[in-house]
């Protein structure tokens, strides 16, 4: 096979691989009540948000469960803690609140008209940042002391 043909084969193979990758991506992503909320631009009420909010609180609780052993120097909790953190972040991304906080074109107030819901979102986002920091600190060995005391 000459170089020209080989390069075409490589190119077609790469395209097919990419297409398969995109096609199969949805199969491994866990479905959630938060799916699609990020596409909404107005009027997400607390009532319709409740199932997603439940999942967010569960994800926070789950992550907290694994962070405690990490503080106590149980490194076996790293993998489940990483998975729990990824799950939490993917749920938060699905809600679209990170885009709300960064964007100048979308309105947080229009998307989440209830002040209590906006406060909840900010609390969840803040907790996720703090848990993420704790996870990162644990990974850097700041919790090597098995006493569980936070340095």
């Amino acid at each position: 096979m000459d170089r020209s043909a080989a390069s075409w084969v490589r190119c077609v193979t790469a395209l097919i691989t990419a297409a398969l990758g995109f096609g199969c991506e949805g199969a491994v992503v866990q479905a959630s009540a938060c799916d699609g909320l990020g596409d909404r631009k107005m009027g997400i009420t607390g009532v319709e948000y409740a199932p997603c909010a439940d999942e967010l609180v569960s994800a926070l609780d789950s992550l907290r469960l694994y962070l405690s052993p990490l503080v106590g120097d149980d490194s076996s909790a790293f993998d489940p803690a990483d998975r729990a953190y990824s799950r939490l972040r993917s749920l938060i991304v699905e809600t679209g609140v990170i885009r709300d906080y960064r964007s100048v074109t979308t309105s947080e107030v229009e998307r989440w008209p209830e002040g209590t819901v906006r406060a909840f979102n900010r609390a969840v986002f803040g907790a996720s940042v703090q848990y993420g920091s704790a996870l990162g600190a644990a990974r850097r060995g700041l919790y090597e002391d098995a006493s569980g005391q936070i340095p």
């Binding site: 000459d2 107005m42 107030v109 008209p113 209830e114 002040g115």
Partner: protein, 181 residues
Amino acid sequence: MRTPADRSLSGNRLPVFAFVAAAALGTSWVACRPEPKPPTRFSLGDPLELGMFTLKARRMETVASPPPVPLGSLSAQPGEKVIAVFVRWDGLDGLTPMDRRIFVESFLQHRLAVVDEADERTPAFHAMSAGLYHGMPGGLPEREWVVVFHVWVDSREFTLLVEHPDPDPTGFELAAIPLTR
């Protein structure tokens, strides 16, 4: 038999192919983008269904100079005049009064604009309750609001544009309401 020159040429095909593919993708993206729907025409007083609430544009007036109420947003700058569009919203019953007020103010300031006879588009400058506009905070129904636009002093024949943030396939994306009958 292929010469080294031929090989060199075929070896250079991959970047060319990548460039052509990128150009084709870019062209098809531009060409296949859905055309924005033309504005849907409404009249003053027609209710605009906006999901969780409805909005009616009621009338327009030019704000006197100096304004009757000492509000900065009502004062025209040189070369400008200020027009006020009176609207009424309904719905939002599930929200607290404070949430309603914050929501309505945000919506009216972000989603409304006027165009004049020269197609010059001006976004809303400010939105306030009708009570505040008339110098009687809390003195008029909560649902009556005023949206203020600062427009070129010689402009006229205004049309109000209202953007639907989450349009459904059968509804409007952009409502156009002529403000002068």
